[in-house]
Structures are given as structure tokens and as C-alpha cells.
Amino acid sequence: MGFRNDLELISSWIKPNSKVLDLGCGDGYLLKMLAEKKNIKGLGVDNDINKIKLALKKNVNVLQLDLDTGLETFNTQSFDYVVLAQSLQVVKNPDKLIKEMLNIGEEIIVSFPNMGHWRPRLQLFFKGMMPVTDALPFKWFSTPNIHLCTISDFVGFCEEHNLRISQRVIVNKNQKSSLLIKLFPNLFGEVATFRLR
């Protein structure tokens, strides 16, 4: 799964028998795992029909909807958790989406690739070109990632919007932490996962 190891972490945060909405659920991997391990009631959202097909095959409930058209389908506080794993950077209005997620779920979990990591920083600094890394493998003209941010950007956003961060885990691409990551998360962290209320 490579970078999708963040799903294991997210899964560890979710209480058994809860209701989970997974935005950008892909093939339904997380929900399937949670249903089997924690008996959760899950619902996925994705706009790629090929992902919908795979999720249906896994017996995961899934809706083919576009996150950019909003979450008006869902009622206020109708889920225990709303998850947005590695999809924050692809939506048109991340700020609006996060606010809607907080309205729907008691707790929200957001993970994203960190643009502040030294590798993209060096690429931009020395090459003078938009970074292309394992985590962000696309060229500037064809990338679906239109709202990339750094960990500092995201923390700033949370402060500005009075969002309470109850936990955050910052790791490298192998889902491991290190002393350097602990000391300089925005420089050495590759994937950040936040729990917000």
C-alpha cells in the first residue's frame, strides 16, 4: 500500500461499533478493514467509478459523489468520524470541506502529504522546478493536487478557524517517526495525520 499506511494509523483511532464516513474512500480498503476489525458501520464517497466498482466488490457501501459539490447529502452530526485521507489536496475548497466535515462528524481525521518536507523544498530551491517526489509523483500540469500545504500551513489554518487538534501524528513514508521528525516535523515529516473536533 506504500503511502496508504496512514490508513492503519487512522484505523487505530476509531472506536468499535462507530459510524464512519470516508471521503475519497478509493477502493474501500479502510472501511472494509474497520468493518472486519471493529464492526463499524461505514459509508464511503468517491467520484471515480472504477473505485466504486472495487468498493462494491468488497461489499462496502459507497456513493459516487464529487466532494467539490459539497456534503449536503449528510445530516448534521450523523457520523462519529469523518475521514479525509490523502484527499485534502485534491478538493476545490479545502476550508469549506473541513467545516462541513466538522458539522457532519463528531470527530474528523485528515491526512495529507507535507509540502514542507526537505525533499520538495530542495527540489524547488536548487532545481527551481515544482517538486516531483514519491509522495507527490505528478508533474505540475497534470497533478490532481491543487491545494498542497505544509504542516505549518495546516496548523495555522486550524488556529485561524478555532479548530481543536486533539492528536497529530507525523511520520515518514514508511509510516515511522524519528528524532528528527519530532524535532523538526515540518522539515522531516512526509505524511501528517490530524484528529480535529
Partner: protein, 371 residues
């Protein structure tokens, strides 16, 4: 494996109380089955047909080249796989393909019912279909599946018999008709009732049929089943004879196509059945009918739903399917939704489409491999 097509007629002697208050003392339901009912009797699928459909959904009759109306979907190795599933497809009550309807003899008057046949609703259909279910010894449908009006029936099944449907597939449907939908139906009805051969619906006694009116109704309906793009693709502005004739004969291909479709339908379908089917569409409104009871019913239903819409369908566009989806989500049901990219319009639900078929196949077989 072979399709194992079997045709039968169920005779029901128990009276059926209709929503209108009228009672059908006895009735017959013509149906077909495909595949084999397993020993535990838990692999049965009910197919609900649309406005002008019938029980012949799959396979071919002897000496007939034309397969059933959903032959691409139902059969050995197809999404509704008859190697594993036992499929039941019937002609709705009020139909004109073998089930009791306006063409049948009214046992009380010994005359053809004609327009005296009571108007039946989707609710009545589901009640009559439950008798067929009983007679086949099926306690629970594995799937109830339908497109358009058939999708509405499938939805109604889960509300009316919340514990008798395991999974429900609702395709290209809506929770109720809009004023525009009803308007189209009304023009179709007027076309039929203005035909000089209408005779207040008792045309068969006079040995005539209002085929001109029915043809017009079908032409109008047909336009709403296609999309602008699919018409452009299929016909464009192509002419029958390379040049304009400056008269009112058939000139454009689309005119010829509509006239052909209308004529064919006008001579083969029953006008009273058509009127009746459009009325049951107009009346369908389970959210209003069940009122406060709707949420209780939905809370009881254990069905798992798949809802499918098509991008170019303007009769029941994706937004209408989403209304059903939202209702189910708000009631905490197991629901999946897919919007298929297609230029086929409303009729896309009858056409072969890789995405559509894979979505169907995966939902049907996804749960427990081999069903």
C-alpha cells in the same frame, strides 16, 4: 449453463383489495423464471418491469428471433447470473401480456373489462407480486431489481415488505413524478382518448383499436426516453431521400424512426394498459403515502440498496435518484450510489454499458462469491 426459461401463469382466487377501494375477486399473473431455485430457496430474484414491459425479460421463445427486453443483463454469466440465481419476471397486473388486465373478461359482466378495469397502483402490484412469491415458496427475495417504473416497484417492495427483500437495485427511477413528468403522461393519455377508435375504452367490443392515439403517445414517450445527444448520434439531420421535398411526408430519419416505433407499438400494446401504467406512475409517492410511517418502515427494512442513475437521463435524471439516496442515508440504511456516464438517455438502463454492467455485477456477486 442453459437459461432454463419457463413460462407459467399463476391463478389467484383470493380477492385483492386495491388502493382505490375496489376489489379484484380473482386474477392471473403471467410470469417467467430463469435458472433454478436452490434447495434453501434463498437465491430468488424478482425483476420488475417498466411502463411498457412484460414478463419476457430474457431468452428467446421457440421459433422467435427476438430475445427478452433485458436479455443483455439476465442469463448465464451475465450480471444477473442465472447460473447462481433463480430469476422471476412477471407481467404486472393490468398488463396486456397474459396477466389479468383491461383485455381480460370481467367475470361479473362476462364482457371485456376495457376501461372498466380498476386502476392499479405500484402498491397493488407489490401486493399481487407477494402472492406469486408465496406460491413459489420463497420467504425472502435475494434481490428485487427494476429500472424506471420497475425501480419504483423495487423501492416500494422494501417499504411494504421490509423483511422480505435482502437487496434492492433501483435504476433510473425517482421517488415520485414531477409536474413535468405527469404533464408528459397526460399528453400521452389525451392522444389515446382523442383517437376516434377510443369508444370510451371499450374499443375491443367494437373490433377496433385506438392505434393512432397510442402511436402518438408512444412517439412522445420515446422522445423522453432518448437524449438530445443520442438522437444526434443516431439520426442527426439525416434525410430519408437526400433532398427536401417541401411537403409533410417523412423527410428526416428521426421522423421515420418515431413513426415506425409508434406504429409498431400502437398495433401491439393495449391502450387501456398504457393509460393505467401512466396513472400508476403519476400516483406513485411512497413518501407522502406512508407519511409519518415512512421512517418506521425504513427503520424496519433490512434491505441493502444500490441506486443507479445515468448522466443523460432527463426523464429521471441523477438528481432524482439522489433524492432516494438521501432519504435512505438519512434513515441510516445500507446504500450505494453510482452515476453512469452515458449518452443513452432514460433508455440507458436497457443498454449494454461496461461501467453499468460491472457496477451491477460487483454489487450482485460482491458479497459472498458464488451467491
Amino acid at each position: 449453463m442453459s437459461l432454463n426459461l419457463k413460462t407459467s401463469v399463476l391463478k389467484v382466487d383470493q380477492p385483492l383489495e386495491l388502493k382505490s377501494g375496489k376489489v379484484l375477486k380473482r386474477y392471473e399473473l403471467a410470469y417467467e423464471t430463469y435458472g433454478v431455485l436452490n434447495n434453501s430457496r434463498d437465491n430468488a430474484v424478482l425483476i420488475c418491469h417498466a411502463l411498457s414491459g412484460n414478463q419476457h425479460a430474457a431468452g428467446k421463445y421457440k421459433d422467435d428471433d427476438k430475445p427478452g427486453w433485458w436479455d443483455n443483463m439476465i442469463g448465464s454469466g451475465k450480471p444477473i447470473d442465472t447460473d447462481h440465481l433463480f430469476v422471476v419476471s412477471l407481467n404486472n397486473l393490468g398488463g396486456c401480456h397474459g396477466s389479468t388486465g383491461p383485455k381480460s373478461i370481467n367475470p361479473e359482466t362476462k364482457k371485456i373489462y376495457g376501461s372498466d378495469f380498476p386502476i392499479v397502483t405500484v402498491e397493488d402490484w407489490v401486493n399481487s407480486q407477494s402472492k406469486l412469491m408465496e406460491s413459489l415458496g420463497i420467504a425472502k427475495w435475494k434481490f428485487v431489481i427494476g429500472g424506471s417504473l420497475g425501480g419504483m416497484q423495487a423501492f416500494q417492495w422494501t417499504l411494504q415488505f421490509p423483511d422480505k427483500v435482502e437487496k434492492c437495485i433501483i435504476i433510473a427511477a425517482a421517488p415520485k413524478l414531477t409536474a413535468q413528468n405527469i404533464a408528459f403522461n397526460e399528453v400521452a393519455r389525451q392522444a389515446i382518448m382523442k383517437d376516434p377508435n377510443w369508444h370510451n375504452g371499450h374499443y375491443l367490443e367494437k373490433n377496433v383499436i385506438p392505434n393512432q392515439g397510442l402511436a402518438l403517445a408512444r412517439m412522445l414517450g420515446h422522445i423522453t426516453y432518448l437524449s438530445d445527444d443520442s438522437m444526434k448520434e443516431k439520426f442527426g439531420r439525416d434525410l430519408q431521400k437526400q433532398k427536401l421535398n417541401f411537403n409533410f411526408d417523412v423527410e428526416f430519419q428521426i421522423e421515420s424512426y418515431l413513426r415506425y416505433q409508434g406504429e409498431k407499438f400502437g398495433n401491439s400494446f393495449d391502450a387501456n394498459t398504457y393509460l393505467l401504467m401512466t396513472k400508476s406512475l403519476d400516483y406513485f409517492d411512497p413518501i407522502k403515502d406512508f407519511g409519518d410511517d415512512l421512517n418506521t418502515r425504513l427503520s424496519k427494512t433490512c434491505s441493502k440498496y444500490l441506486i443507479i442513475s445515468f448522466t443523460s437521463d432527463w426523464r429521471f435524471p441523477p438528481s432524482r435518484s439522489k433524492e432516494i439516496m438521501k432519504l435512505l442515508i438519512h434513515n441510516n440504511k445500507n446504500v450505494s450510489y453510482s452515476e453512469i456516464d452515458s449518452s443513452g438517455g432514460h433508455d440507458a438502463f436497457l443498454m449494454e454499458n461496461e461501467d453499468y454492467f460491472e457496477i451491477m455485477r460487483n454489487f450482485i456477486s460482491g458479497d459472498n462469491n458464488g451467491v
